[in-house]
Symmetry: C2
């Protein structure tokens, strides 16, 4: 077990590396050339046009003002300064509520930390068991933990009672937080300006009708069953194939742009397409260029064909539609009611935001949906408990012998001692590392297969899966060493009362491991987040090779977004560690506090300056966050019961049993009280908004407003399309002379390539 010095040493290293990241960030963000990496949000909002620079060429790339460097941490108070309503306006409710999770961590754990240090640390410190055992190595850390209390001691009552206090405090905080978020959501939905999804309902599983097309069937059904409220509807086309074509075309365009750029920068050496061959590098390219252009044109024609085919083909209309109503009230009614006597037909729900729709999944029939979910549940089980098997198999192949077999020519290279040791040390871990990196992608793919039809629900679903994975493989896996599969075997053979004991008994011993984990993953990891090293490099690469116009530069920016399915389950791990160790090893709590405070500031900065969310769900994920907090609490309570019963304090078990029962009841209470705010839209609110709108805008033409709100993005007028057309035109005509098409993009292209 690590001593206090070890912990301090590790803390120092991690603090230093965090500070180094922060310092690097502070330096890099001041350089105008990185402005689009560290402040993309402002560009997307149109507030910043180009890096703030006055003066020479040098100043355009490097900040030479020494004063700005002195206050290198001044972004932190700046990040905290923006008031919440403005922040919601600026970054959306999803992001604001997301950083509230960190704030909630502080609200829960600051009082708990104080209480634990005031009550439990003295109780533990004076326990005196470890002083008596001379032959065991122990550290000051263990003297602060529950391990220092002798078996069967009356002192355990302190831990049991404090566990009640902690639980009730957590209940208090998360109840109020749930209430607050529910209010914020309702206010957000009500205060927002008019949005298409307020009036629209997504209808799935439209039954097939031999006499009518889907669009007629939908129209008739809603004209009959919502006669005074139905306004219009938009059918959904199965544009998956078209989307593939468009995707391929875009990839082609990128390559074209790259070569185009080369020549635009050096127009004098521009060869005609008739020049073929030759030793010069420059003269080889035109062939590639013209071949690419040909393919590109063919792709474009193919796309047009496919587009026409989809639009004219009745079979390409999938049995789903977006139905819009004359009022929010009618849309809320339709979304919440059952339409047909067969509950698997005419399924209605609130339409997601147009950006939020996941178009590929809209056509899945009901029974297929349940089968997919079932198969994915089975797959998740195997993924969690058996993922080590394929990895172990890959690892067994990825030995020196395995490599020599497959690549015999490498034999003399890797047999060299220095390389051999690197390979031997590196290879066994690499399969696991790669797996852990692609895991979120796998989970997202599983969520997509399950058939959810909005990006926000896909994110929530993937987060649930990832949380389970972390819970079993990181949390339990670190406590009971051994793979999840071995754990599963152990648990199947142990009784319901033994399992918490087995885990509980190892908990105090793993405290130092988790402290280190918090520092590495929580402190340094979060500091690395603010540095945005990968987007920084990619931006500069793109900027050098692809960017031609301001618009291209806009597209080269990668503001990124909060990766909810990855980061939220990780926060939950910290919450769980806090709950578990609050009564066992209070020393761990300050480390968690630092994580929450630090992450709060960093992510507040990021959502103000960087992230651009892909959709806005109105904090629809909060019920999931709440549920996982409850799961964390339950696990902590069960483990405490297990731990205490191994310490000869079984008489405390009946005293502690009500705790999980109360927690489950509390969860049900909160669910009943608040969850519907995240699922349903109350009629009263809808009616208030409708009445207000009728009074203020009596002449509003809702039909025009809604008529193409829910069109598949592939059919939308794409501004980059024209630019591309321009490129082809350039090919054939004179590149720098405007064509007859007098679109605004022409001038963009000209000015862009002229700069």
């Amino acid at each position: 077990m690590a001593t206090l010095e070890d912990i301090c040493y590790s803390a120092a290293i991690n603090l230093l590396s965090a500070i180094a990241f922060l310092f690097a960030f502070a330096m890099l963000r001041l350089q105008p050339v990185n402005d689009r990496v560290y402040f993309p949000k402002w560009y997307l909002k149109g507030i910043r046009g180009s890096p703030t620079h006055h003066g020479g060429f040098m100043k355009k790339f490097v900040n030479l003002d020494p004063r700005t460097y002195i206050r290198f941490l001044n972004w932190m108070p700046a990040a905290l300064r923006m008031p919440e309503p403005e922040l919601i306006e600026h970054a959306g409710l999803d992001s604001v509520v997301y950083i509230r999770i960190y704030l909630m961590g502080l609200k829960i754990f600051v009082p708990i930390t104080f209480l634990a240090w005031a009550v439990l640390v003295p109780v533990n410190w004076t326990g005196g068991t470890l002083d008596k055992i001379k032959d065991l190595t122990f550290s000051d850390i263990d003297k602060l933990s529950i391990s220092n209390i002798p078996e069967n001691s009356i002192r355990f009552w302190a831990h049991a009672s404090m566990s009640y206090v902690f639980t009730f405090w957590t209940f208090f905080v998360i109840y109020h937080e749930y209430k607050e978020v529910a209010n914020m959501r309702l206010q957000f939905l009500a205060a927002e300006s008019r949005r298409a999804d307020h009036f629209t309902v997504l209808v799935r599983n439209v039954p097939a009708d031999p006499d009518e097309s889907v669009t007629d069937h939908v129209e008739h059904f809603f004209c009959v069953n919502h006669p005074e409220h139905y306004l219009l509807h938009q059918v959904v086309y199965n544009a998956n194939k078209l989307a593939d074509v468009v995707e391929a075309k875009k990839a082609m365009r990128n390559r074209l742009t790259y070569y185009q750029n080369k020549y635009d920068r050096n127009p004098s050496t521009r060869p005609t397409t008739k020049q073929i061959g030759g030793g010069q590098r420059g003269s080889k390219r035109p062939i590639i260029f013209s071949v690419l252009a040909n393919i590109s044109t063919r792709r474009k024609m193919q796309e047009e064909l496919e587009r026409e085919k989809v639009l004219s083909d009745a079979n390409a209309v999938i049995p789903a539609a977006f139905v819009s109503f004359k009022s929010r009230w009618a849309a809320a009614v339709c979304a919440q009611t059952q339409q047909s006597s067969n509950p698997t037909m005419w399924l209605t729900e609130r339409a997601p935001e147009p950006r939020d729709v996941y178009w590929s999944n809209l056509a899945i029939p009901y029974v297929e949906h349940t089968i997919r979910r079932f198969l994915m549940a089975v797959a998740l089980f195997f993924l969690i408990f058996f993922f080590v098997i394929p990895i172990a198999f890959v690892q067994s192949l990825a030995t020196i012998e395995g490599i020599e077999k497959v690549f015999p020519f490498l034999k003399h290279l890797i047999e060299a001692d220095s390389i051999k040791s690197i390979v031997q040390g590196f290879l066994p871990g690499i399969a696991l590392k790669i797996f852990l990196i692609i895991l979120p992608t796998i989970l997202m793919l599983m969520a997509k297969i399950e058939g959810f039809h909005s990006l926000s629900s896909l994110d929530r679903r993937a987060a649930s899966k990832y949380h389970l994975f972390l819970l079993v493989n990181v949390f339990l896996g670190s406590i009971i060493t051994g793979t999840a599969l071995e754990q599963l075997k152990t648990f199947m053979k142990q009784s319901a009362s033994e399992i918490p004991q087995t885990i509980g008994v190892s908990i105090p011993m793993r405290a130092t491991f988790f402290i280190t984990y918090i520092m590495v993953d929580g402190w340094s990891g979060i500091a690395a987040e603010v540095l945005r090293l990968v987007p920084l490099i990619i931006f500069h690469l793109k900027n050098t090779f692809l960017v031609k116009t301001e618009q291209d530069r806009e597209q080269a920016m990668d503001p990124g977004c909060i990766s909810f399915p990855i980061s939220e389950p990780r926060i939950q791990l910290y919450f769980m560690l806090g709950f578990v160790y609050a009564a066992v090893t209070p020393l761990l709590l300050p480390f968690i506090l630092v994580f929450f405070a630090f992450a709060y500031v960093i992510f507040r900065h990021q959502i103000i300056n960087v992230y651009d969310q892909k959709y806005e769900s109105g904090a629809a994920y909060w019920p999931d966050v709440h549920r996982r907090l409850i799961i964390g609490q339950l696990i902590a309570q069960m483990l405490l019961i297990g731990l205490l019963s191994t310490k000869g304090a079984e008489e405390l078990t009946p005293f502690l049993i009500p705790l999980p029962v109360l927690t489950i009841w509390f969860h049900k209470l909160c669910k009943g009280r608040f969850e519907s705010a995240f699922v349903k839209f109350p009629l009263q609110e809808a009616m208030v908004r409708d009445t207000l709108e009728r009074a203020t805008e009596p002449n509003l033409n809702l039909r025009t407003y809604l008529h193409d709100a829910y069109i598949h993005p592939i059919f939308k007028h794409d501004p980059s399309e024209k630019t591309e057309t321009m490129i082809y035109d350039d090919e054939e005509d004179n590149p720098l002379v405007a064509t007859k098409r007098s679109s605004k993009f022409v001038s963009d292209v000209s000015s862009g390539s002229g700069s």
Copy 2:
């Protein structure tokens, strides 16, 4: 273990007793004097007026026609003859679907029985393990069961595969049954003539408003939020106290009637109230009579006062209301949507039928509701697992010594040998017997405390609790001998994989016990049901002492009703036994088949001729029935896995594990597919009915139709009230002379007492 002869002997006894019951029933039902006991339904329907008799006085009471006795079983085909649509019309959907449960039992188990006897019985019979073991006593029954198969035999694959076949067959039957019942319910709701609950929504948790009364608040809220649809509403009065007063008055009236009758039959000896005392029995009564009449009058005044107080007191209006709409569509919309942003306020749901409302529970606030449910869940846990503790305590008191202590004067009596042995044999069981008799009442009380607000939901809730109790204390309690508390201890100390083994291994050994159980409880018990011994006795007692008029005789009839919370969980026990033993001891299956067939005929007869349901919920309980079938299936599958793994066939476990997983998935599929038909009312159906009604009855005045549909029964015009007033009037005036009030009841009373 019992031999085949034991089983045959027991079967013979039970068959004989069942036949004796049936014979007694056949004799008794032919006597005109019992007509109101065995055919009350027809009297309530107004089809039968009085026993069919022609001829003398004797024939009025006894059937002397010998021909009718010969065909003493002819009620059976008669019971089966009525077609289902007519039966629904006659007895209601609840009853018809209830007997479908028995029919479903036949559908499931007839093919399973054939298959099991065709495949598993030969496999077991030729297993030959028991032939080799000479020193153990075994019977032919065990040779038919899985016990006869040697350990580690390949024959177990037959049982595992058949278990798949049985499961899939059950899936097939219960899926189609669910579908059929859902269709029947929708048709029933749609085909029914206009009912108040189609247009009405029960609104609970109306928030308090300082400026408005509840009734104004409700009206304003629905006028604003359902402007084109709101019609009227009826507030609910807290009439619990009034109901008590009325109840007390009724009890008093019964006693009065009894004395009244005495004197009406012998008017010549009728004394005045001034005659006091005397040795004669007749002369003592007038005092009681006048005292009772005084109390009765006072009760009546008290009731009037209370009634006025309730109606005038604004605080007596509870925050709940029945809100009626102009169309079924609007009521369906309001019932299915969330009204206010606070989901614990303005809770709406489909109004139960007026008869079905449980008025006392309408006022419970949301949070109190969750607390009550939580407390009752805890109470149920203790009731199931710890009910033996108070019983053991009572038993320890109820020994000979205990009685002697409390009642010393009984000492010499109970010390007599013969009595002593009876007391000793009888007392220990009596506490348990009493507990089991009052258990359904306790469970119903718990359901009432939980705060459900319709009789049908109370019944369903009590049934769920009783099912759990039977599952733990009868099924598991019979397999693992020992109390539930001991079981709980065992299970806490055993691992997840050991529990099914522990139970599974005892299953084949308990087959004979369950066969006997089925014969006693299922065969004889059901035959006793048709005899209606208790209602028969009570009717004749009432008829002799209380009945004065035809109307009284009507009230003395106790048609009873299907006691869903008691009998449905018992059927589920038979289903579970069938599922569990289908693969283990197929010998048990024919006994279950006899039960299902016999019970089907008997209950079909009863719902045609006897039972009068208190309410009509439209088979709303079917999702519960389905869920419990799934629970039975899951338990059977787990136990088979446990049993096979103790038989050295662990390699079958992975083969069988998908079975419970599939079962859970099947349950989810059915739930999603059909459950909403039992919870929601689809808008399409509502719209069709509305349109039809508008076309056929354009001038319907819905307001008049609905205006007092949901009035508390205590405020309703009670026909018996007047009769009672008459009795008081009789007291003061001349009894046999009509008073000035010229109501139809006067003539009833006169003719009734004159006959």
